[in-house]
Structure formats: structure tokens, C-alpha cells
């Protein structure tokens, strides 16, 4: 029996998917321009301990002997000052698997409260939703206040 093409049409598949890390890197590039080169953002990979503490569900994936499980990707988004090299403020942590979505986000408590989000994590299911959510976070009053305070101290 010839089953024919079971793949369907692949032409319309979008290969231009941006990973959350790429989206964050793009946004990080804006910050120096917006803050007269005083502030910058850094995307840092979470250490295993941070990952377990922040997204405890990944512990279900860890082998008893702590061997390399498929834990996916996890980062934190930090706000820093060029003139206060010891300081950092963490806006959020995120984790996702190889399939990218859903992305789980754990926000700074005050941003979380300001956005009136339920639960511990925010679960995002698409790139479009991630971009929209990120915009809400970066434009929150909490983030703006921290940027202003950090810029004042960095002058």
C-alpha cells in the first residue's frame, strides 16, 4: 500500500523562531541606549542549585546519581550598572525545555505582585505571548523605579 505523503506541507513552517534567550538579548541591547550608557542587562545561565531552588519541578527529572538529565535551558535576567560593578538586580528567572514552549518564569516578588499574577510561576505558551509578557514586565512601575534609582546612583 502506498501511504503517500504523511508529512503534510512543510513550506509554511516558520524557521525564524526566536528563543527566549535571543529575545532577552535583543532587549538587553536597548538598555544602554535608553540609560545614557549607565545601565546594562545581562542574561546569565542558572547554576544547577539555582535551577532546583527556582523551578523545583525539574527535580523530578534529575537522576539519583545526578547524571546529566535533560533539564532544558534556564537563565536569569539581571540589571547592572557600569559604575557599580558589584551590584545586580534580578528581574526574573526562566526555564524551558528543548521544545522551547511552555516557558516558565519566576519574577521578582514585587513585579509579580504589581502584575497581579497568581501562583509562583508564569507559564507562557508562545513567542508572541512571551514578547507581550516581557513588555509588561519591562514597563512595570517596579522596573522603572529600580532603573531610576540605579541611574541616580551611577552618575
Amino acid at each position: 500500500m502506498d501511504a503517500g505523503n504523511l508529512w503534510g506541507e512543510l513550506e509554511g513552517i516558520d524557521l525564524q523562531i526566536n528563543t527566549p534567550k535571543e529575545i532577552l538579548q535583543d532587549q538587553a541591547k536597548f538598555l544602554p541606549k535608553l540609560t545614557k550608557d549607565l545601565l546594562y542587562a545581562e542574561i546569565k545561565e542558572l547554576e544547577d542549585k539555582e535551577l532546583y531552588n527556582s523551578f523545583d519541578y525539574v527535580l523530578d527529572e534529575v537522576d539519583e546519581d545526578d547524571t546529566n538529565p535533560e533539564l532544558g535551558f534556564a537563565y536569569k535576567f539581571l540589571l547592572k550598572s557600569r559604575f557599580m560593578d558589584t551590584y545586580r538586580f534580578e528581574l526574573f528567572r526562566l526555564h524551558h525545555g528543548i521544545g522551547i514552549y511552555p516557558v516558565m518564569i519566576r519574577l521578582d516578588k514585587d513585579i509579580h505582585q504589581e502584575l497581579q499574577l497568581p501562583g509562583t510561576y508564569e507559564e507562557i505558551y508562545s513567542e508572541e505571548a512571551f514578547v507581550k509578557f516581557l513588555s509588561e514586565v519591562l514597563q512595570s512601575t517596579r522596573v522603572k523605579r529600580v532603573i531610576v534609582a540605579l541611574m541616580k546612583l551611577s552618575k
Binding site: M84, T86, F89, E90, V146, K152
Partner: protein
Amino acid sequence: MNCLFWNVGRKPDINQYLVDVVSEHKIDLLVLAEYKDDKNELLSMLSETDYTLYHVPQIACMRIHIFSVYTPAQIAHIQDASHYTIKRIPHPNLGLLTFTFVHFPSKLHTEEIDYLEESRLLKNDIEQAEDRLDSKLTVVAGDFNMNPFDQGMMMSTALHSFPTKDEVKREKRIINGRSYTMFYNPMWNFFGDKDTPFGTYHYKSSHHKTLYWNVFDQVLVRPSLSENISSSDIKILTQINQKSLINKNGKPNVSDHLPLFFAIK
């Protein structure tokens, strides 16, 4: 180095108490939670005494106010989160110390497991700061809204704090091949009725299990500083300049918390 932490319970007219306690105890570092009075007025009132303190600018931890004998330029900002702030502050003899000041959320809005989670995140941030600064001269103080025996204070993955200097000499414990750093918590000495007051916070409850007096306000140090603090250097204050902070039944009545004085020698 004389330090005072006090959750002043949003009391509007607290500044005179603060001026008095700074003078009376020669405070180098005054750290306040739930402070709603006018900080500029406090600085002005202090300037009329022999004492000058500076307000340390806040960046992202708005729940904690720090006033110090050191100028803001002498204090390095290390990290902030909603409920804690990490600073690098000079000590007259020991060089730079890393101070973490904490004001964890009220028990009314938070469950035991949340405190454990928050304590793990806090410990992780402290350890990363210690690594970046290459120093274990760390002090953690504040209103934890936990007692010294609660999970967040004791669990290996959380603050992992112990009641005796002798035990923390080993600096870390290895459990199932993983290493967990330790803190010394002298606040265990403040339970029971050997001395008064019986804690820093009194809570009347009709639950089957209750403690009434809690030691929510605590100071912890790394083993490297354990010989620089002792229970005799720590006082839970019940009066300031002969003005009582407790009612006739011995319960806090100026703020719902009593101030915690500690000296790091």
C-alpha cells in the same frame, strides 16, 4: 560595631525613639523594617545630637531602611530583592563585612513552604555574593518571620543555621556527597523564661500548637565571625531612654516587634 535592627511596625511617630536608641547604644548601623516616619526629619534630629548617621540610598529593596555612621560612598550595594538587601559595609577592625538585611513577608500571607523556598533563594544569593566578593565575613540579620527552629532557618539547602559555635566550626556539612555551608545562630539563647523578654514578637493564638513568644528577629553570622559575636553582645530591648516598649503584661506595645541590638567585635 554596634547594630540595631527593628521592625517598627509602621508606627508614624517613631523618630524620637530612634534618636534615643542611637545615642544610648552608640549605634553604627540602624536598620529598620516597616519604617514609615520621615527619614529626613530623623537625620535632622540626629544631627542635633552628637551622632551623625547617613541614610543608605535604596535601589530595589524598599522594605528596609539603613542608616549608618559611614557615608553612602563607603557602602557598596551588592544585590537587592523584594525582601532582602545585601551590602558591603566597613567594620572598624575586621575590614569589609557583607551584611544581608531581611524582612520576610508576614505569616498571615505566607505558608511554611514559602519561607523555605525564600530562604533557599536567599542563601543562594548570599553564597554567590560571597564568591564574587571572595569573603565569608557575612552577617545576616532582620525579621525572618521564622523562629530559629523553622525549616527555612535550619534546612541544609536553606539558611542552615546552628545554635552552637562549636558545631559551626566545621563550616559546612556534607550530605549525600553535597556540601552545605553553615551559619551560627545565637538567637536560640533567647527562648524560655531565663531572661526577659521571652522573645522579639508575641502572638496570641487559639491554635492547639502555639508558642506565644517568638524569636522572629535574628542575627546570624558565618563561622568565620562566630568569635566576634556572643549572646552577651545581643540584647532584645524593652526600653529606650527609660521609655518602655512593652505594656504592663510585658507585651510589645510601641511596635509589635522589639528592637534587636547586636555588637560585632
